[in-house]
Symmetry: C2
Subunit: 485 residues, 2 copies
Amino acid sequence: MIINIDWKPDKTSKIPIYIQIKEYIHKKIINGEWTVGMKIPSQRKLAELLEVNRSTVMNAFEELIADGFLEGNTGNGTRVKNNLWSLFQTTSPPNWNHYVENGIYKPNLPTIQDIHKVEPQTNIIRLGTGEPSPEMYPKDIMGEVLKTLSTKIEIMGYEEEKGLPQLRKQLCHYLETLGINATPSSILVVSGALQALQLISLGLLRGGSTLLLENPSYVNSLNVFQSLGIKLANIPMDRNGMDTSFIKSYKRRYNASLVYTNPTFHNPTGNVMTLERRKHLLTVCEEEQLPIIEDDVYRELWIDTPPPPALKSMDNNGSILYIGSISKALSPGLRIGWIVGPEQVINRLADIKMQTDYGSSSLSQWAVTEWLESGKYVKHLESMREALRLRRSTAIRVLQNEFVDIAEWTVPSGGFYIWLRLPPTISIKELFYEALAFGILLNPGKLYDEQSFHYLRLSYSYASLFDLEKGIKKLGQIIRKLINN
Amino acid sequence: MIINIDWKPDKTSKIPIYIQIKEYIHKKIINGEWTVGMKIPSQRKLAELLEVNRSTVMNAFEELIADGFLEGNTGNGTRVKNNLWSLFQTTSPPNWNHYVENGIYKPNLPTIQDIHKVEPQTNIIRLGTGEPSPEMYPKDIMGEVLKTLSTKIEIMGYEEEKGLPQLRKQLCHYLETLGINATPSSILVVSGALQALQLISLGLLRGGSTLLLENPSYVNSLNVFQSLGIKLANIPMDRNGMDTSFIKSYKRRYNASLVYTNPTFHNPTGNVMTLERRKHLLTVCEEEQLPIIEDDVYRELWIDTPPPPALKSMDNNGSILYIGSISKALSPGLRIGWIVGPEQVINRLADIKMQTDYGSSSLSQWAVTEWLESGKYVKHLESMREALRLRRSTAIRVLQNEFVDIAEWTVPSGGFYIWLRLPPTISIKELFYEALAFGILLNPGKLYDEQSFHYLRLSYSYASLFDLEKGIKKLGQIIRKLINN
């Protein structure tokens, strides 16, 4: 388990470093941030995180032990023994661990937790991150948008249940360009596609229901459905997308309630579902009265040619809940996405959204409205595609130069991901930590499919162009080293 | 049940209104927004919402029935019969009602749903809304903040698990002024206090656990705990706050896991827990190892004198999860709040937050950082207090002039609310709809306590000063009319 610490000793200060560390820990204990009985990071780990010698940490620990705040470093680690007050009290703090371990939601997968902890570190080359690179962030245009908003926003209160009316109106126009017809009352603004999935899990399903989905799938890396006892049944996929011939029998076998699909520039494989498959999926699901969640957040990011039309654009009877977002093409920091579907379903999800967070940031909604209304968003998509084309060719060039004998891949026609197949002989877990030691953060394929333990989700979207080239080259060397060991 | 509609016919158009209505409904059906089998609003209701004669709606319905899109208006209402495609198909759409009715989360209480639907309407005097008035919105200063941000924000990506580091640093400084010591790693940025409660419900509790809370309580108006099978046990309160003498026995009787309290300018009563009670609450909960959720979102809004210190500032052993927010004092539209607590608990809640929405709007977080860092927030609080003082005295003056013989109340020393006790002989439900007919939106006390059916939560925070006076006067007249009936 990787831990983070939000402080570093000041090496230029006159106060000895071990005293600074002692005071830091002391403060955490006094504040009740580290509670009595809590296990604290080991000396070795702290020394590493604080970038000091282990003996320095040891000196701090020894004084805190002598003062009665910490309990001796037995084989079981160091724990908080007392705080300033507990010395005079006979009571102990609540058993928070009991709460932390028994909550309804499952924790994120350990690897996901580790990835979240490493991500904020600087000097890390993130080769798995599914997010537009800071290099592609349109700082100047966002600046213009914020300047416009600085005089435009008259009031920022709670918005309507389904989101800012002006934004939903703009989304109608935008969706029309994708062939999707909707009026504002059948659109719910959400805080990104993940929240859309959470609202669906809380609002439309029961424990024991089953979701059919492509395998591998981004959803397998989450616990949002699983935490509530909703089962996932994996449908095989090939380069043409989900193998829709399985749906009929799987629906019966698992008594499935919904199909989840990410048909366009699929996460993590980069595949695009063909038009033929899309039509078949629609036909089968209509016959089976099986609703579909279409997660279409990568649609705009085509590199070669526009992808086949959205399922939603061919939806004749309101079978599809369509999810879109500006996170992938503009900025995940705005946390704005949308769900489009039959009005009674959108009403229900809007009611759940009101119970969850009373709506998404009004400021973010205004910003997205402005991006759409001014035409800046559509223009920005062009430069995104251009930037992604360059990034993809860089990644593919390095792969062709360095990986031909150690990996297999398909060139994606859009999106962020290359689904990299490595020799089954090497341990991806070992590779993950080995790469991390060299400052490279990876996304193991196993997150998306238990059987894909010899895959990586390689992303050409996040690292700087320079780091992308350097990182993939280095990755090749590390893989070779592991193969040769 | 109140319904909303996002469209009105264009009365200046050359196209007859009934044709416009027909086309509107036709589009909804063709788009799959109104699905086959769905019950649509009645002619009477539509006529009212669209502000047309019922005969106009009837003409539209008749043509749609003749064309096969709608099914005759039997006693069971009008339903969608076919869409353009279903005429050629043998299948029907998914049974969405089954999904909508069977999801895990309970719907919001019907009155809350109705209130949410009325709120966006213009020309409504909202006498129950717990939100700062548009009159108090600091448009110019927010404009300055946005201008600053337009050049300051270098990148807006996913932020760290616990929120923007710069914001958490500013929050540490701010919390210190409230006597609360915390380092950034024990703070989680959330999208408002309601999300804090949702994260706690999903992350720290199990179905069957019990939460002790004041009665009445804002939490009783939510379903966020109840939907997950978490029970609420009501502890009586008086003008000094929660009656803490009940806690020991209630903990045993209900095997309670947590205490929820809103001790300062309590929602809905406006009460402030005395210092003595605060100390007793802490002592009892420490003895019982019972953690406390302190919801302190109204603290800054004192009018007469600063309230007693936060429980969290007297928390010696990490028993308290402290919730704060800028929604009440600055702008709910930013959707930014925070939870402060022991680090292992904050880590857990941060992990759940990542599963819920991947963090709060980065733009909103930057905005709050700027408000805090520049000192604008603390300065703004002064003008908020001044504005609330004027609003409170306006409301109290009207009450004293017009309500002395029909209601009882206590003058609140801060916050937004007056807990208004009406004669038990009048039906608050009747009053709610009667007031609505006069354009006044109320919050019935029953939302916060089943037994408080003769109370209203009157808010002096939202309506314009002019409407506040006018609305309360009118309310008095309506109450008198009901009493005399």
